[in-house]
Structure formats: structure tokens, C-alpha cells
């Protein structure tokens, strides 16, 4: 068959119609990935605005812009939005878009599940924000310690919105994790053995496994919270034999692995970007890959370091302190691998590279302040001060926001087909970098001076005001820097240069196709012989019978887990509205649970089951098998 005929046939099979139906029913990972990124970015902006309002309140001693209650609600919504609805979903967005391109598959393993996880992520975010808009916002911080969150101290629906929207987000996150694991393990292009995967796939695989084993703890904690608040059961109240520490144990058993969930994929992106712009393969590929996996594993044995002040035996504390120190070892290996790559390579300073290097710098500062805070006596001193706020922001912005921007500048040309403007991009980077450091470095100092976190104001005679003024200025500068990049995006969408297939001369499979990729992505599923398929010349495996074209129906090749020897052709489902309606039914279920409309809950559950049956009912796919 000629290539042209194959292209036509594949387009007919894989294209998503540009109609309203097509928009809602799309199961294309490229559409869904971009939607994930956009939605998560909007949550970033919402959370950022909340942070700026807080900074305004804290600029002056005895500030009166916000009431104490409003301040509590703002810092809670800021933390919840950023950690749950921005930091992880934006990385899922990259993974949804990039994993199939990097593995050489035409879509993820479960395309309809992919659509469902996007819609349920969106609806859970809407569920969370119904709270503040009905005057019932959660107000207990992003980790909502008991007993403050029980019905006596937190009346109203605020904490219910928190608990139930998190359970719904947990369903979405777990679904996405299952999808990534199946895709990465079984949908890799023939020949892409596990030792030849791009490092981004290693980090996505690791965090997906982490999610499988960490998410249930949060779900359970939220279920306990609801049972205690709404049905008067006893889990956390010590008067009836419960323990408020149960919440902390469950929350942090989830919470610390979650830190790696929002950190590791970002390191994976840096491990792709730095070698490309250093013009050489990464130094120590196996060590970086193993560090990534081990971070995920050891990440499960450090959660008590969030709780050193609750009182526990010295042995326990030593164990968890040692575990925390061990993690920094793996991160150090990764960071030295990046530095060595830059050192041994011929670095090209693009905007994307700047963001990647900036993130390494911030990550080192944040990591070291973490080592300091991980020493138990120091932790006791710094507990609940701004030092901890500085640490978490250096780590999360250094290891999530900056890599995300690096990733956006790197992969947006692939997604949109147009280059981002480099000059505006570099301006954006420097303004963000300077703004961030001006805004957050002084937090270490005011923390050491004893300024507590989560208090809506401070007294004038403490001498904290000058530093706070500087921090507010820095925070706004950081916001301006981000705004410059948003302007850059809209400018470049119109006026940017055409990207072509491989504007960065990068090594991954995703750069072999046009930008944006065609609906079917590849005419022939590629065969891979090295870690850098576009850099190394090798004899592409002959495919005279067009075995790897698969143009008779919607099909992908599956291969085995370790060696990626091709096994079979997987049928891929057609467009479907069912995933969206399923997410909607779950949304109704959780919303009704907030307001205790039990009959609506039951109806929503029955609807969920019926939709599930519809989803799984045998139906033909496009094309002829």
C-alpha cells in the first residue's frame, strides 16, 4: 500500500470530528492532554490569585484587608487548589499527551478511561469550588487536621466539600495511574526495551505505582471524616476511644508519597530537556532511572517526619529521619547527573533550558532547607513557622512550576505547531526567577525569627514588616513573570514561527512526527533500537509486508513488559459520550452527599452502574478486522 493511501485510511479511522459531539466524546489523548494542561493551568491561576490576596493582607502589620476567617479559607483553598488540582493534574496532562507519543503507540491503553479521568478531574474541581461560592469554604489548611475539622469546630459544609471532592479526585487520579501503567508496560514500540525507555516514562511509571498504593489512605481518611462529621461515628474524637492522630497517620501515609507524585514527573521532564539542550545523552542513565524508582519506594517510609512534634519513641523518629535523609541521596544522584550532563555537553541556552536549570538551582536550595528541617531538634524549633512555608515553596515551585514551564516551552511547539517567542520567554524566566527568590527567600529568615504560618497578621513591634513588604513585592513580580509567559503563548499561537518536526533537534520518538501530530500519529509504528532513536543512526527494521501500519481498523501494537517484543494488535474504542456522563453521575452523587439528599445519591449510583454496563457492552470498532 502506498504511504498516501495508508495516511488517508488512518485519518478516516482516527480523526475526531470537529463538532460539539466530537468535542465532548473525544477519546484522543492529544485533545485530553491539552485539556488537562489548560484546566490545571486555570487552577494554578486561581490558586495564585488567592496567594496574592494573602500577600496583600500580610504586607503590613495588623493588616485589615481580610477577616481572620476569610484568611483561613484563603490559605486552605490556596493549598488545596495548588497541591491537588494543579500540581499533579498538570503533570498528568504532560503524561496524557506525551506517553503515547514517546512509546510510539497511537493512544493510551484505555482511551475511554482517559476521557473519564479528565472529566472527573474537572468536575471534582468544580465540586470543590461550589463550597466557597456558597459561602462554605474549607478552612483547615490543605491537610485539615482533626479535631479542628469535626462538626463542632467546623460547622457547615466546608469540610464536606473538601472531603468529598478529594475522594472524587482520588478516583480520577487512580484511573489515570492505571492507564499510564498499562500503557508504559505494554504499549511500547517494538524494541523499546525497559532499558531504552525515555526517563520521563520511568518517572511516570513510578508515580503511577505510588498513586495506586498511596491514594487509598487519603480516600479512607476522608471517608472517616465524613462518617464522623455527618453520622456521628467515632474515629478521631478521643472521648469515645478515637484518636486525632489517626487522621495524621492516614493523611501523611498518603501525603508524603504524594510529594513525589508531584515531583518525580517534573524531574523526568528535566532529564529529557537538559540532555537535549546539552547536545549529549544524559550521564548515568541507569542511575537516574533507579534513583527515580527508589525515590518512589523509599517515599513510603518517611511519612512520620511530618509528625515529629506529636510525640513518639526515639527509635521511630530516628528511623523516619534516616529514611528522609536517604531520599536526598537519590535526588542528589539525579542532580549530579544533570550537572554532569551540562558539564560534559555543549549547552544551548534556550528558554526551556533556562527554566530547567533554574529549577535545579531552586530544588537544591529547597532540598537543603529540607535536610535542615529533617533534623529532629531543628524541626521542633521550626515547626509551623514560615521556614516550612519557604521550604515547601522552594521544593514545589522549584520542582514543579519551573519544570512545568520548561516543559511547556519545550513541548508546546509540538502541541500547537508554532514556536514560543524566545525573547519574551527569557524575560518571563528572569522576572519569575528573581520574583520568586525575592518573594520566598526572606521567608526562611522570618521563619527563623519566629513568624508563624497560617496566622492572618502579626504585631507591629516584631520587626517583621519590612521583610513582608519585600516578600509581597517579590510575589507580585513572580505573578507578572508568569503573566508574560501567558501573553507569550497567545502571541506565539498567532505569530510564532512554524515549528516543523523537530525544532530542538531532540532525540525522542515524539519529534519524528509533524507538529501538531496527525490524528493517527504514525503511519508505521516505529521499531526502536537505541535510547535515542532520532540521534543514533540504525537500520530501521524492514517492514515490507506493512505489518506495523495497521490501517484496517483502530489498532495499536502491544509488546511484552521487559524486551518490548511485539505481541498482538489491540483494538481501540471509538468516540464515546459515556465517560463524560459517568463522571457527571459521580459528580451528582458526591454533590448530593454533601447536602445529604440520599435518594439522589441512590439514583446517581444506579445511573453510574447502568452507564458502566453501557461502557463495557460489546460494540464494533471503526474499520474491518
Amino acid at each position: 500500500m502506498s504511504t498516501l493511501a495508508a495516511e488517508e485510511q488512518l485519518t478516516r479511522l482516527w480523526e475526531t470530528p470537529k463538532t460539539i459531539y466530537g468535542w465532548f466524546a473525544s477519546v484522543d489523548h492529544k485533545d485530553l492532554g491539552i485539556r488537562y494542561l489548560t484546566t490545571a493551568f486555570i487552577f494554578l491561576i486561581i490558586g495564585g490569585v488567592e496567594a496574592l490576596i494573602m500577600r496583600l493582607q500580610l504586607t503590613h502589620a495588623n493588616g485589615a484587608l481580610l477577616t481572620p476567617e476569610a484568611y483561613n479559607e484563603l490559605f486552605s483553598m490556596h493549598g488545596i487548589t495548588m497541591i491537588f488540582w494543579y500540581a499533579s493534574p498538570i503533570l498528568s496532562g504532560f503524561s496524557v499527551y506525551l506517553v503515547p507519543l514517546m512509546t510510539g503507540a497511537r493512544d493510551v491503553a484505555y482511551p475511554r478511561l482517559n476521557s473519564f479521568t479528565y472529566w472527573s478531574f474537572l468536575f471534582s474541581g468544580i465540586l470543590l469550588y461550589i463550597g466557597p461560592f456558597t459561602g462554605q469554604a474549607p478552612h483547615a489548611g490543605w491537610f485539615s487536621y482533626m479535631p479542628y475539622t469535626n462538626i463542632v469546630y467546623s460547622p457547615g459544609h466546608g469540610m464536606d466539600f473538601y472531603a468529598l471532592s478529594l475522594i472524587m479526585l482520588g478516583i480520577s487520579t487512580t484511573g489515570a495511574a492505571i492507564n499510564f501503567i498499562a500503557t508504559i508496560l505494554f504499549f511500547r514500540a517494538p524494541g523499546m526495551a525497559i532499558s531504552k525507555m525515555p526517563l520521563f516514562l520511568y518517572s511516570t511509571l513510578t508515580i503511577s505505582c505510588t498513586i495506586l498504593f498511596a491514594m487509598p489512605a487519603l480516600t479512607l481518611a476522608c471517608v472517616f471524616l465524613e462518617l464522623e462529621r455527618r453520622w456521628g461515628m467515632h474515629f478521631f474524637g478521643s472521648a469515645s476511644g478515637g484518636s486525632p492522630l489517626l487522621w495524621q497517620q492516614l493523611f501523611w501515609f498518603f501525603g508524603h508519597p504524594w510529594v513525589y507524585v508531584i515531583f518525580l514527573p517534573a524531574t523526568g521532564m528535566i532529564s529529557i530537556i537538559i540532555p537535549v539542550f546539552s547536545r549529549r545523552p544524559i550521564v548515568g542513565y541507569p542511575y537516574v532511572a533507579m534513583s527515580t524508582v527508589l525515590t518512589g519506594v523509599v517515599g513510603f517510609s518517611v511519612w512520620l517526619h511530618h509528625m515529629f512534634t506529636v510525640g513518639m519513641s526515639d527509635l521511630t523518629m530516628s528511623f523516619f529521619s534516616a529514611g528522609s535523609m536517604m531520599i536526598s541521596l537519590f535526588t542528589t544522584i539525579t542532580i549530579f547527573a544533570w550537572l554532569a550532563t551540562v558539564w560534559k555537553g555543549r549547552p544551548v541556552v534556550t528558554t526551556s533550558m533556562l527554566y530547567a536549570l533554574g529549577s535545579v538551582a531552586l530544588l537544591v536550595i529547597g532540598g537543603l532547607s529540607g535536610v535542615v528541617a529533617g533534623i529532629i531538634p531543628v524541626d521542633w524549633q521550626l515547626h509551623n513557622t514560615y521556614y516550612v512555608v519557604a521550604h515547601i515553596h522552594y521544593v514545589l515551585i522549584g520542582a514543579n512550576v519551573f519544570p512545568v514551564f520548561a516543559g511547556l516551552y519545550f513541548w508546546l511547539p509540538k502541541m500547537t505547531g508554532r514556536m514560543m517567542d524566545e525573547r519574551i520567554g527569557k524575560w518571563s524566566f528572569w522576572v519569575m526567577f528573581v520574583g520568586f527568590n525575592v518573594g520566598f527567600f526572606p521567608m526562611h529568615i522570618v521563619g527563623l525569627m519566629g513568624m508563624p504560618r497560617r496566622i492572618y497578621t502579626y504585631a507591629a513591634n516584631l520587626g517583621l514588616q519590612p521583610m513582608n513588604e519585600v516578600m509581597t513585592f517579590g510575589a507580585f513580580l513572580f505573578g507578572v513573570g508568569m503573566l508574560i509567559s501567558i501573553v507569550n503563548l497567545f502571541y506565539s499561537l498567532r505569530h510564532g514561527e512554524l515549528a516543523g518536526n523537530n525544532p530542538w533537534n531532540a532525540d525522542g520518538l515524539e519529534w519524528a512526527m509533524s507538529s501538531p501530530p496527525p490524528d493517527y500519529e504514525v503511519v508505521r509504528i516505529p521499531a526502536v533500537a537505541t535510547r535515542h532513536p532520532l540521534w543514533d543512526t540504525f537500520d530501521e527494521d524492514e517492514d515490507p509486508g506493512d505489518l506495523r501500519v495497521l490501517s484496517q481498523a483502530r489498532l495499536c501494537i502491544t509488546s511484552n513488559m521487559l524486551d518490548a517484543v511485539p505481541q498482538a494488535a489491540a483494538t481501540m474504542p471509538n468516540l464515546s459520550l459515556v465517560p463524560m456522563f459517568l463522571a457527571l453521575a459521580l459528580f451528582v452523587f458526591f454533590l448530593a452527599l454533601v447536602y445529604q439528599w440520599m435518594w439522589v445519591c441512590l439514583a446517581a449510583l444506579i445511573l453510574t452502574f447502568l452507564l458502566g454496563c453501557t461502557w463495557l457492552w460489546p460494540r464494533p470498532i471503526k474499520g474491518h478486522l
Binding site: 491503553a109 501503567i181 479512607l220 453520622w231 476511644g241 489517626l246 501494537i557 489491540a570 483494538t571 460489546p618
Partner: protein, 208 residues
């Protein structure tokens, strides 16, 4: 390199002409669901022991009676065997009998829930979820398990009306195996519930 492009095709499997049709995604999916759900129960049992750690007695007052729990365990184990038998029937192509096995399993699952209702009714006289933390965690764990039984029953219900169990070109592939795996999981969890919540409290030594 030629091994990369030549897929192994067994003659009797569904295929596209060149490639065999992939039929394991359901199994991968349900395996991962089972792993994450098992973690949920590990967390539940962990909470049970965490709440009991600082108590003089745990279970508070009297340990739960064993008879009904063992009957329920027997029912579930037997139903797992029925499903395994059904899977073998599917392999042999005896689909009508396999469908019978599904209905039998559903019936046994319903009996399980009925016995649990009686068990609850009896238990309720001395212990409710509102009594204390022990009551709360006891009923939460057993109800979570019951919810998983209901989930399994719904999956079996779907399986009972599914037209085709054999190897097919179109998904769902291997539906019988997928549902059976989940049902075994529900069964194994009940074994741990009986062991940890019912049996072990009878053997605890409370000192003098």
C-alpha cells in the same frame, strides 16, 4: 531485528489476519484495581489496630461471635470455587453451563449478604457504630467489605447478561476471568476480616 516485526500467531486465536488480537487489558486493569483496593483494606486494618493500640481491651467488651462469620466464609469460599469451575467451563466452550455458574455465584453472594444482615441484627443489640471507636471501625470494615460484595454482584450481574464468553475479536475480552479475579479478591478480604476482627480477639491474653 526481524523478531521485532513477526508476531507469534496461534492458529485458533482471534486475529486481524496478521496479528493476534490483544485480550489482556481487562486483566491488567482489574489487577491494578485489586491492588489499590487491597491497599484500602490494609489501611482499614491499620486503623483498626491503631485505634486499639492504646486500649486495655480490643475488641472492647466481648469479641464478636464466630459461628456466622465462619458460615459466611464457607459460603464465599464455595462461591469462589463455583466461579473457578465456571472459568474452566468457558475454556472448554461450555458457555451455557458457565452462565449457570454465574447465577449460582450471584445466589451465594446474596445468601452471604442475608447472613450478614442477621449477624448485624444480633450484633446491634450490644454494639452500634455510634457506641465507641471499636463499634465505628468494626462496622466500617465489615460494611466496606459488604460494599465490595455488592460491587462484585453487580459485575456478576453484568456478566450474567453478557452475550459472549468465548474468545472474541471485539472487547470485552476475557470478561469471565476479569470478574472471577475480582470475586476471588472479595473472598480473600473476608478471610482477613474473619481472621483479624473475629478470631484473633478470642486468643488475646489480657493479663491479670
Amino acid at each position: 531485528m526481524s523478531s521485532l516485526a513477526t508476531p507469534p500467531v496461534a492458529p485458533e486465536t482471534p486475529h486481524t489476519g496478521v496479528w493476534p488480537i490483544e485480550a489482556n487489558r481487562g486483566v491488567y486493569g482489574v489487577t491494578m484495581v485489586i491492588l489499590t483496593e487491597a491497599t484500602l483494606f490494609v489501611c482499614l486494618f491499620g486503623s483498626y489496630y491503631f485505634l486499639g493500640a492504646d486500649k486495655y481491651r480490643w475488641a472492647v467488651d466481648h469479641p464478636p461471635k464466630l459461628a456466622k462469620a465462619f458460615i459466611m466464609l464457607g459460603i464465599l469460599f464455595a462461591s469462589s470455587l463455583v466461579v473457578m469451575w465456571g472459568e474452566r467451563l468457558v475454556e472448554q466452550g461450555r458457555y451455557r453451563l458457565a452462565r449457570g455458574a454465574v447465577f449460582t455465584t450471584i445466589l451465594m453472594g446474596l445468601v452471604f449478604l442475608a447472613v450478614q444482615a442477621f449477624e448485624y441484627k444480633e450484633h446491634w443489640k450490644t454494639l452500634t457504630p455510634l457506641t465507641d471507636s471499636y463499634g465505628s471501625i468494626f462496622y466500617t470494615i465489615t460494611t466496606f467489605h459488604a460494599a465490595h460484595v455488592i460491587m462484585g454482584l453487580l459485575m456478576l450481574g453484568y456478566l450474567s447478561i453478557l452475550p459472549d464468553y468465548g474468545p472474541t475479536q471485539l472487547p470485552p475480552h476475557r470478561p469471565y476471568h476479569v470478574v472471577a479475579l475480582y470475586w476471588h479478591f472479595v473472598d480473600v478480604i473476608w478471610f482477613f476480616v474473619v481472621l483479624l476482627l473475629y478470631v484473633i480477639p478470642h486468643f488475646q491474653f489480657y493479663g491479670f
